[in-house]
Amino acid sequence: MDSALALHRFHFAFTITFHYLFVQLTLGLALLIFILKTMALRTGNEHYNDTARFWAKIFAVNFALGVVTGIPMEFQFGTNWSRFSKAAGGVIGHTLGMEGLYSFFLESSFLGLLIFGEKIMGRVGHWFSALAVWVGSWLSGYLIVATDAWMQRPVGYELGPHGEIILNSWSALIFNDWAAWQFMHTILGGVVTGCFAMASLGAFYLLMGKHQDYGRTFLRVSVTTGLLATLLVAFPTGDQQGALVARHQGPTLAAMEGHFETGPAAPMAILGQPDVEQRRLDNPFVLPGVLSMIVHKRWDAEVRGLDAFPKENWPDNIPLLFYSFHIMVGLGTIFIAIMGLSALQLWRGKLFTFKPLLWALLLAMPLPYVANTAGWMTAEVGRQPWLIYGLMRTTAGFSNRVSSGNAMFTLFGFMGIYSVLLMLGLFLIWREIEHGPGSAPAAH
């Protein structure tokens, strides 16, 4: 592969993966904070307000890191992917532009009020600020996902006389069916991260014997929401997302499953290592017929393998795609089990004293990050070798005037700055955790 292309790809992958670490937590916490503010408003109990205020502090640190690492993303479309931007900017510029106008302003204005304005806004006004931040952050998520969805499944365009991509239906772009499912799947992934973060901290407080009242509230809210979210993330959203891949990206689905040869009663791989040279799955552990069932709703249906597609249309990193997909699905299953058990124990009134499960919740905290990152990699690596599926190859989209040396320089720059950010972010969040909810010191 061209070294400049490889660097531009890694540049984008690195900055967006890092950015998404903060975003997925804020997507989840925005909802959870809104739930807490609603409970506070309905019960009039100051305890819920304290809880919301505590999570708003953690939210604010994450949000700040999400914002500062998000600004480079919009720039990079132009700086590192200029030929793509020139060709497709007239289309996806709509979703990106709307994100700026409709969601950034909403989020940033009301976050200021959520953090600084509790006294001046009053009870209902402050609740409304939490609502606005939640709506803003999810709207932002939708518009970004719609941008990606158009690259996965281009719709609402026509090709001009010189092959230029011209938008001809704005509503098709906005209401892309791929965007709808991918958004719900992605957003629920964020809610899972938020719930595990809150549950983990709740478990931590209970195991530590500190801030126990708050720990119990954290667990009640997060386990209830978490059970719902972990179930919905798999079905129907994950299932439908898979169906879209099967319908529109045949080689991607085959590569995700390590399915090299077309045949009836296609198995679903649970474990294995795809061997692209030999065109087979090493050490396979498979469920026969399940892939046929998932894709065509029939046990004996034929599913096209990679052999049904020209090799130049195969994803260019099949093992990475296979592992990302399987890690995501595997962890998703574990999340359902943990949240299911926790919900059961919560309902029986035994969760707060059941130490093994508290430990499991505590330690599971990083796993949703892994699952969400793997999920994004599945989507993005799966789209290869296309930048816009079926329309523009990745090799045709990067900024060819920006040399590999310059791309490497800025990549190292981002790596350096982001390492510092991660350290600071973790340090500040740890301080908030140690301090705990309750009395609110003036942070700003």
């Binding site: 500062v68 919009e74 700086t79 931007s85 990106l96 005037r401 301080r431």
Partner: protein, 347 residues
Amino acid sequence: MLPVIWFCIVAVMVAMYVVLDGFDLGAGIVHLGVARTDRERRAVIKSIGPVWDGNEVWLLAGGGALYFAFPALYASSFSGFYLPLMMVLWLLILRGISVEFRNHIDNPVWKPLWDTVFCFSSGLLAIFFGVALGNVVRGVPLDASGEFFLPLWTDWLPGPNPGILDWYTILVGLFAFFTLTQHGALWVAYKTENGVRTRARRIARLSWFAVAAFTVLVTVVSFRIQPQLSRSFAAMPVGFVFPLLALAGLTGAFLFWSRQEDLKAFVSSAVFVIGMLTSVVFGVFPYVLPANTDPALSLTIHNASAPAYGLRIGLIWFAPGMALAASYSVFLYRKFAGKVQLEEGGY
């Protein structure tokens, strides 16, 4: 007609960005100078704390509008100005973090560190934005495919082999620095009391003289560097309304400063910024990125814009979005109006 409308929209959004984020950048520049104690520094930070993030959104929203209305311009300029843009991003990151994180920990290493980062990143950003404007006025070596790549510097001359930095763009960079220093100092004076206000007013006065001198210098030099400027004003003398606006703003800033009317002085400074920016935009029009090699290769609003359908439908979603965004801004500024009160702390 549609490209002209979108060109005006993008120009207005950029102007909004410079006026709004301009004052918080300026507050950053004067931060170390006007505020001595921790309490004073908290006051300066608090004067921009609730709003700086929203101000910066104008950059992103303006970028978004540029992206879909003029994709060829976006692609060409962002890849061509690759290195300085990346540095702008790093500075924006450092600055954002310093505002957000400063007050989290009360200790003698943490706060001075972020105060310094805040001050330097704000100052450098002001200079970089000025340099960027200088590059656009001077023109860049566009090739037949509408692309270019500029190194950071070559021989420091705005001649046939330009770099991002040359004596002309540095001059514009310094002009931007003094302009935003004045702008930020007037904002801080308006939002604070006692010692901070006195010192901010003093800095505003000093920078006013620098701004006035640089206005004359940069204007004269720009007309020599970019002949399109004189052509534009000669073809449509009505355009002189923009430089007159700038002049009125500059005069107003001085007069209202003398009368101790901080808010009016700040608004005058904003008028000056808007007047200067619109003068440049008018002067360069219909170019959006002039080529300094062959004028025929320049990007204009016509050859860089997206097709009509997209521009038309864009207006439909843009209008209500803009109204909403403007109303949040107004609401937010009203909520935090008046002098900074340190007692009612956020969290």
